[in-house]
Each structure stands twice: as structure tokens, then as C-alpha cells.
């Protein structure tokens, strides 16, 4: 059931909306009470600017002005500090409900947003090697056959596409109705080097502009509240995906990343509040396609990189920890001399989180979610 956004509403506040929404999105009661939310950060969020390795001797030198944000930031442990915009998430960390994995990356090692997001969402080893998304395949391994998934966007993003039926719904402030076309154009241009390059660039710009135009905190709160309304009811969705854009901070990163993180934090806060008691049954994963360069570029920003950070939140998460096999920020330690070297596989992290959350055998979950990453064991002990 893909719900047509226009059919739904062309108006109305989110509150009024949700009232109309409830009956339409009524699913059969799922046999699991567990809920899972995947928040994708499109545009390559800077993990080093989110969870900063302030204890690394090279941090201040490599990051220049960007390090200033962490002068008075709360320390998570001896090595890491959390960006001051992340108030709600910081509180969850202190309550041991937030866990960060650092120096993580998907199997993708080039630097195209487009291809990187495709790998992140399909769970394949390379761009476009798999035709469906890992979040959709996850529906096949959940203990209940009835669990429903919804994309909190106008169209179904790649991670949720596949053989299992998925609905989608977006408040009017979320991305344009034609996003699906844009994705399909991306696939169409896959074999055409000129058009592929142009298109990747165009989408990057669009994500940036779109976010600056519409990415207010209010929208973030509304999105979080909406997702909660879709997930909270006994007969509501159990899997949800939320897309966030605007993370491609090539210039003026300090202000922009602070605003981006504030919006993310607001969204998480609204989601937790809206879920109420169901929060204890909920796991939230926040991840991005790849990280950003360790060094600051000439325009106060960072360029496309490799390793980044992923976040796991929820009542059942064994939080209050930063998981990192820290590679170091010294020049010699960097991946290709410029990026944070990935030391933890994001796939294994996601597989470990999902299997533990839903009580599925980790090997079975890995085989379903990341079928090409043969033999990679799921990260254990996350829940």
C-alpha cells in the first residue's frame, strides 16, 4: 500500500492530519511490540564533527576551527565529546540509552553520494548490485509476519523498497513528490558516466537547497511527532524510515552542522516524547553514506570522506558507550591520506543491532540484510 500524498492531504497541520491518518494507516496488529526506526543522513554527515575524538592528539591540529565547537562540549569518555547541539541525545547517553559507533563505514569506498547512499540502503557491496533494500528484507526475518513498514517521506526510499509491501507518508514539508523520479533517473544514468556525474552533482545541490529552505526545527519536530504517531499504536507500523538531508557541509560547516544536528536532536526528542511508553520497545539507528575529510578545506568545510559515526538509540540499547577501534587522526593513520579510516563495518553494526533488538539469530539476520557480506559476523552486545 503506497499511499498517495495528494490523496491524503494537500493541507492541514500535522495534528489535524494525524487524526485523519490513524484509520487509514491501521495495520493488522503486529505480533511484535518492538519498533525500529532508521534515520538516514543523506549527504555524508561528518562523524568527527558529531562525536569528536577530542582525546586524539591530532584532533585540534587536523580540525582547525571546527574543533572550537567542542571547547566546552560534554565529554562522553576519555576520548570523545558530543556536539553541543545534541541535547536530547546527550541526555539519552547519560541514561545509557544512546550508543555511538565510530570509524564505521559501509563497504563503499568511493566518494559519490549517490552510489554511497545506494550501498548504504541496499546493503550490497557495490552500488546497484542489489535491487532491494535491507530494511525491506528485514521484514522477512522478523518474528512476526505482520510487521508493517512505513517511510516517513513522500515516496519509498531505496532501503525500504523490495518485495514486502511498504507504505509511505509525508507531511507537506518533506521532500518533493518527484523524489522517486529523481532516484529512478539516478539508476537510469548509472551506466552513463557523463550524465551520472552531472546528476550526482545536481542532487547534492538540491539536497542542500531543499534543506536550507525547509529544514527548520519545527519541521524536524513535526517529523519526529508524526513518526511516533505512526509507530505508537498497537496496530501501527513497526518499521519506519526517516530521511534527512543537508549534511553535505563543504563550506561554512560550523554553523550548518550545528543547525543540522539541532534538527536531528529535535526530531529524536519529538519521537521519544510521542512514543511515550513505547520508547522502551524502540530502537533508532542514525547512519550516513560515508564520512568527511579529517582536515578542514579552504572554505571552512569538509569534503567527501570515508569513515563516519553511527548512532543507536532506544530503551533497550546498552548505551552510554562509544564503540570504536580508534584508528587515530595522525596523517599516517588516515585512509588514503585524507579520511578517517574505517575500522568497524557498518553492516555488522546494523546486523548486530537489528538481530538483538528483534531476537533474531545474528547470522540469519546478516545473511538476509547483507547477503553479499558473507561471513562477516554481526557486532554483538549492543542490546
Amino acid at each position: 500500500m503506497v499511499l498517495d500524498r495528494r490523496h491524503f492531504v494537500a493541507s492541514a497541520s500535522i495534528g489535524g492530519l494525524a487524526a485523519m491518518l490513524a484509520p487509514r494507516l491501521a495495520f493488522a496488529k503486529a505480533e511484535t511490540d518492538r519498533r525500529f526506526v532508521f534515520i538516514i543522513q543523506r549527504g555524508a554527515a561528518d562523524g568527527l564533527g558529531t562525536i569528536a575524538p577530542v582525546g586524539d592528539p591530532s584532533f585540534a591540529g587536523q580540525r582547525g576551527d571546527l574543533a572550537a565547537d567542542f571547547a566546552d562540549a560534554a565529554k562522553l569518555d576519555a576520548m570523545f565529546a558530543i556536539h553541543p547541539s545534541l541535547v536530547n541525545i546527550g541526555a539519552l547517553y547519560r541514561e545509557r540509552q544512546a550508543l555511538f559507533a565510530h570509524a564505521v563505514a559501509s563497504p563503499y569506498r568511493d566518494r559519490s553520494h549517490f552510489d554511497g547512499q545506494n550501498v548504504l540502503e541496499t546493503g550490497g557491496l557495490g552500488a546497484y548490485s542489489l535491487k532491494d533494500g535491507w530494511l525491506n528484507r528485514m521484514l522477512g526475518v522478523l518474528p512476526s509476519g505482520n510487521a508493517k513498514a512505513i517511510a516517513v517521506s513522500a515516496t519509498v526510499p531505496m532501503a525500504l523498497r523490495g518485495r514486502y509491501e511498504v507504505s509511505s507518508y509525508a507531511p507537506s514539508s518533506l521532500p518533493q513528490a518527484s523524489d522517486d523520479l529523481l532516484q529512478r533517473v539516478a539508476m537510469l544514468y548509472q551506466g552513463d558516466s557523463q550524465l551520472h556525474a552531472l546528476w550526482s552533482e545536481a542532487l547534492g545541490t538540491r539536497a542542500l537547497a531543499g534543506d536550507m529552505a525547509a529544514g527548520s526545527q519545527q519541521n524536524a519536530a513535526a517529523t519526529g511527532a508524526l513518526a511516533a504517531k505512526l509507530l505508537a499504536p498497537a496496530d501501527g507500523a513497526r518499521i519506519a524510515m526517516i530521511e534527512t538531508g543537508g549534511w553535505d557541509t563543504h563550506a561554512g560547516q560550523r554553523g550548518r552542522l550545528a543547525a543540522q544536528l539541532r534538527n536531528l536532536d529535535t526530531l529524536i526528542g519529538a519521537l521519544k516524547t510521542g512514543l511515550g511508553p513505547s520508547w522502551t520497545e524502540t530502537m533508532v539507528l542514525v547512519a550516513t553514506e560515508f564520512g568527511r575529510t579529517v582536515a578542514v578545506n579552504g572554505t571552512g568545510g569538509t569534503d567527501h570522506g570515508t569513515g563516519s559515526a553511527a548512532t543507536l538509540l532506544g530503551g533497550g540499547v546498552k548505551g552510554g558507550r562509544v564503540l570504536a577501534d580508534w584508528p587515530g587522526l595522525g596523517q599516517a593513520a588516515l585512509f588514503e591520506g585524507r579520511d578517517l579510516k574505517p575500522t568497524t563495518q557498518l553492516d555488522a553494526f546494523i546486523g548486530g543491532a537489528v538481530s538483538a533488538h528483534f531476537g533474531v539469530d545474528p547470522a540469519r539476520a546478516m545473511a538476509a540484510l547483507f547477503p553479499d557480506s558473507r561471513g562477516v559476523p554481526a557486532v554483538g552486545g549492543l542490546v
Binding site: 522517486d180 523520479l181 529523481l182 533517473v185 537510469l188 548509472q190 546528476w199
Partner: protein, 501 residues
């Protein structure tokens, strides 16, 4: 790409689903030399240069009288100034010109200027755009229509000058179309005598310093008038020889002297016009002897001592068949049909045909049609926004359009019709058109086209009709996987096959 696909898409303006696929592609192209209609009904119905010039002249005369009546304080801004400047650029683009305020006073020059600009922009310009587009959609000779667009861009005027907005399309209709299958020299001559060109490149105001008028004005020492080299230079640099082909600044100045007297009648009225002999019908070419610089001229080593109008015409006649002109034209044609980096061997053959026939254009086109270089199976050109728009409308089977929708579309896609902003015209290389935002805009436009088609077109069936035996597996798959007929159609319009030719 199959031959038929190349004929329809690279040589033509894009295939139409309701037209038969050519059986003999070469013959299909040469047959168009017979079927081309230089003056189809939609173009015959558009305002001609006389009508547009009449309106222009009336406006300028009103402005002049108002100035006399109220003094210069009531003149509209410099941007809309009338003569003697006649060169102010329009404040807005032709389709965004301010509409007159309600209740504007009849003697308010600014309101009148706005009304005039609106007439020129909305009525004359847009009507001409509509006529050009419909001709491109329904023509029996899409290859020749493409050549019309090619030459119109070669002899570019730009509708961002107030005096040219309404006239811009008439240059193509009156000077290009009648000669597209004739001699290059005849087209050249028609263009340089057309009011749009004479006004656009300031030839209309060029005065020989020693001409009767020039001498008289100089003696009074009041107004600064004199030689304007603009058109003479661009004829040499852009229309004929090409830049850096051996002519000097002295040659340009001499040619400009020879050109003096070539002007437009009936635009500037008042007492001076009668004296100079430019008081004839609005928009007509006139040779005003009173403006002509007397004496023989020497240009590129050749002496021209013809009387009056014939002096510049003799120069044009020589330029039209000059080897540098042949090379210039050959290079541009080869670039248009055989790729951004034109194959030297093809350029040589085109140049040779041009010189051998004295610039007989169909003979040159036949070289293109016979050239293996233009039939390469891989796409050779990234479509310009105009090419993409026309081929989209043809693919959708459209035969009528709203002119303002076309001007709006082309403005959004970055190639406003007849408004390249410079006499050099629009670039004909991918680097100028294949940008990220440009592709995004085409995708957005494709989605709009598709939504208007309202699910009535099956892109999966349409694709092989547009590109016989040339649809890639990736495109076929994307069309098959689309979640709606509209989405499939939008994808077809932006597929790699469709973005290039």
C-alpha cells in the same frame, strides 16, 4: 543507433510517433529540399517586420513628442530610451516585462513604454516563438527546419534590446527561411539588410563623418554622431570570415565606412528623417546617401570604388565566397552534425563544396548527408535546451502549443529563443549545456510534460518508435520498472538516448 534513428534524431528534430520511419535515410533527408515550406501558415500569420517596425516607430515618435512637450524630466529611464540612443537594453526579459499599471495616463511616458514593451514581448515576440515552434512540430522537412535554426543562431540577434524584441523572430522568418536552401551570399545579404540586424548591431545609426549629414553635424558641433563599426566587425568576425582570419582593424573601419548609409526607414521620424531620406515605410531597408561616407575603400587589400549602396554589397559578395568564410561555415556545420570537435576531413570536404559551388547551401548539406562522420552510431551531440524541448514535444505528438508556455520553458531551461545575449549566438558544444542544474531542469520539465500527457502515452511502446533499434537495455528496464505511465514517460524524455542526438 540505426540509420533511421540518426536521420530522425540527429539530422531531424526528433522522431514523431505519428510519422513513418524513413526507409532510405539519405533519400529521406534530400527529399526535404523539395518539401520544405519557407513560409508555412503559422509563420505567414505572425507579425512581419513592417508591422512590428510600425509599432516601434509610433512608440518612438510618441516618446519624442512627449519629450518636446514636457521636457527631458518626463522621459522614461535610460533603459527604455528612444532615439538617438536606440540602444538601451530592456529592463526585463521579453516575457517578464512589467504590465502597465491600471489607469496609467496616456501621456505618461513610462506607462507607454511599458505598454509598448508588453506588446513587443507578449504579442510580437511570443507569437513568433509560437510560429517557430509549431513549424518545428508539424514540418514535413525537420532537417531543413534544423538548418533554419542553425543559421538563425549563426546570424544571431538578441531580444534583450528594446528595439529588437519584436523584430527578432522576423529576421529568421524573412531573411533565413527564404534562403536556407539557396546561396549563402543571398542569405548574408538578406540578413545584413534586415531591420532587426541593422538595429541590433547599431548600423542604422552609423553616419559617415564626411557624408552630407556627418559634415553638417560636425560643422554645427552639437551632437556627436559618426561611424559605428559594430555591424561591420561582426559581419567579418561572426557572419563570414571568422575571428583571427587575417583581417585587421583598418579593414573593419574601412568596411564600416563602406556600410554607412545602410539603414532602416521609418523608425526615427521627424524632420531629420525626410532630409536623410529615411522617411519611407517603417522597417524597410533603405540606402541613405546622405549618411554615406564618400570615396573608395580598401578592404583586405582590395579596392572598392562602387557607388553608394553597391560598395558595401560588393564587399559582402566577396566575403560570402572567401575561403575563410567557407572554412568558418564548414566548421560550424560539421560541429553541429558530427560532434563538438569537428572532424578535420569533413570540414575540408564541406569547405571544398562551399567554394566549388560559390556557397550553394544544398550542395554543402549533401556533403553532410553523404559523410560517414555524421552517421557514427554513437550519439555525437548533447542536445541544446531548444533541441531537447522540440524533440520532447514531437515525441509527445504535440502539434499545437501555448507560445508563452514555450518561452517560459526555454527561459527555464536556459536558452531563451532569439535571446542569446550576444551576436555570437548560442554555443554549440556540450560543455555549455550539460550542467548539473540543466539536467535537473530537464527532469523537472519532463515530469511536467508527462503529467500533462495524463497517462495516455505508453513510453515502452513509444521508445522504439522514436529510436528504432536504438533503445538501450538500461532505458528499457527503467521504463518497464516505472511505477506509472507518467513516470515512464518522464524517464524516456530524460533517458541518455533522448538527451543526446
Amino acid at each position: 543507433m540505426a540509420q533511421s534513428s540518426i536521420a530522425m534524431n540527429r539530422f531531424g528534430l526528433g522522431a514523431r510517433p505519428d510519422e513513418a520511419v524513413p526507409v532510405d535515410s539519405q533519400k529521406w533527408l534530400t527529399a526535404q529540399f523539395e518539401s520544405f515550406n519557407p513560409r508555412p501558415a503559422e509563420i505567414a500569420a505572425a507579425p512581419n517586420s513592417r508591422a512590428v517596425s510600425e509599432d516601434l516607430a509610433k512608440y518612438l515618435e510618441d516618446q519624442r513628442q512627449l519629450r518636446q512637450q514636457y521636457g527631458p524630466a518626463r522621459r522614461p529611464g535610460a533603459a527604455l530610451a528612444g532615439p538617438p540612443a536606440m540602444s538601451g537594453s530592456m529592463a526585463g526579459t521579453p516575457d517578464t516585462v512589467a504590465v502597465p499599471e491600471p489607469g496609467a495616463r496616456k501621456d505618461d511616458p513610462l506607462a507607454q513604454a511599458r505598454q509598448f514593451a508588453r506588446r513587443q514581448g507578449r504579442d510580437d515576440y511570443a507569437t513568433a516563438v509560437g510560429a517557430r515552434t509549431i513549424a518545428a512540430l508539424v514540418t514535413p522537412a525537420p532537417f531543413v527546419e534544423r538548418l533554419v535554426h542553425f543559421w538563425s543562431n549563426h546570424f544571431a540577434v538578441s531580444a534583450d534590446k528594446l528595439t529588437v524584441v519584436g523584430l527578432s523572430g522576423t529576421l529568421e522568418f524573412e531573411a533565413i527561411r527564404p534562403h536556407v536552401l539557396g546561396k549563402f551570399g543571398d542569405m548574408l545579404s538578406a540578413v545584413e539588410r534586415h531591420p532587426a540586424m541593422l538595429l541590433y548591431l547599431d548600423q542604422a545609426q552609423s553616419v559617415g563623418p564626411n557624408s552630407p549629414i556627418g559634415a553638417r553635424v560636425a560643422a554645427r558641433g552639437v551632437r556627436k554622431i559618426g561611424l559605428n563599426e559594430n555591424l561591420a566587425r561582426e559581419i567579418m568576425e561572426l557572419h563570414t570570415l571568422g575571428v583571427r582570419t587575417g583581417y585587421s582593424q583598418a579593414d573593419v573601419t574601412e568596411f564600416a565606412r563602406a556600410m554607412t548609409g545602410w539603414t532602416v526607414s521609418g523608425i526615427a521620424r521627424g524632420p531629420g528623417a525626410r532630409f536623410t531620406g529615411t522617411d519611407g515605410p517603417a522597417g524597410a531597408f533603405v540606402f541613405a546617401a546622405a549618411l554615406h561616407e564618400p570615396g573608395a575603400r580598401t578592404i583586405m587589400g582590395k579596392r572598392y570604388d562602387q557607388p553608394g549602396e553597391h560598395q558595401a554589397q560588393s564587399v559582402l559578395d566577396d566575403l560570402a565566397v572567401h575561403p575563410a568564410t567557407a572554412a568558418h561555415v564548414a566548421t560550424k556545420l560539421a560541429r553541429h552534425f558530427a560532434g563538438d570537435a569537428p572532424p578535420p576531413a569533413l570540414v575540408e570536404r564541406l569547405q571544398a563544396a562551399f567554394l566549388r559551388t560559390g556557397g550553394d547551401l544544398p550542395s554543402v548539406y549533401r556533403v553532410l548527408i553523404d559523410a560517414p562522420e555524421t552517421w557514427a552510431p554513437q550519439p555525437l551531440k548533447f542536445k541544446t535546451p531548444w533541441e531537447w524541448s522540440v524533440s520532447s514535444m514531437r515525441a509527445l505528438g504535440m502539434k499545437t502549443i501555448q507560445p508563452l508556455a514555450v518561452t517560459g520553458l526555454l527561459n527555464q531551461l536556459g536558452q531563451p529563443i532569439w535571446r542569446p545575449g550576444s551576436p555570437a549566438g548560442y554555443d554549440d558544444i556540450a560543455a555549455s549545456w550539460a550542467g548539473p542544474d540543466a539536467v535537473m531542469r530537464r527532469v523537472e520539465a519532463a515530469e511536467r510534460f508527462a503529467s500533462r500527457a495524463n497517462g495516455a502515452i505508453d513510453a515502452r511502446a513509444l521508445a522504439p518508435k522514436l529510436f528504432p533499434a536504438a533503445v538501450s537495455p538500461a532505458t528499457s528496464q527503467a521504463l518497464a520498472n516505472a511505477d506509472s505511465p507518467g513516470q515512464a514517460l518522464a524517464l524516456l524524455l530524460v533517458a541518455p538516448e533522448f538527451m543526446r542526438r
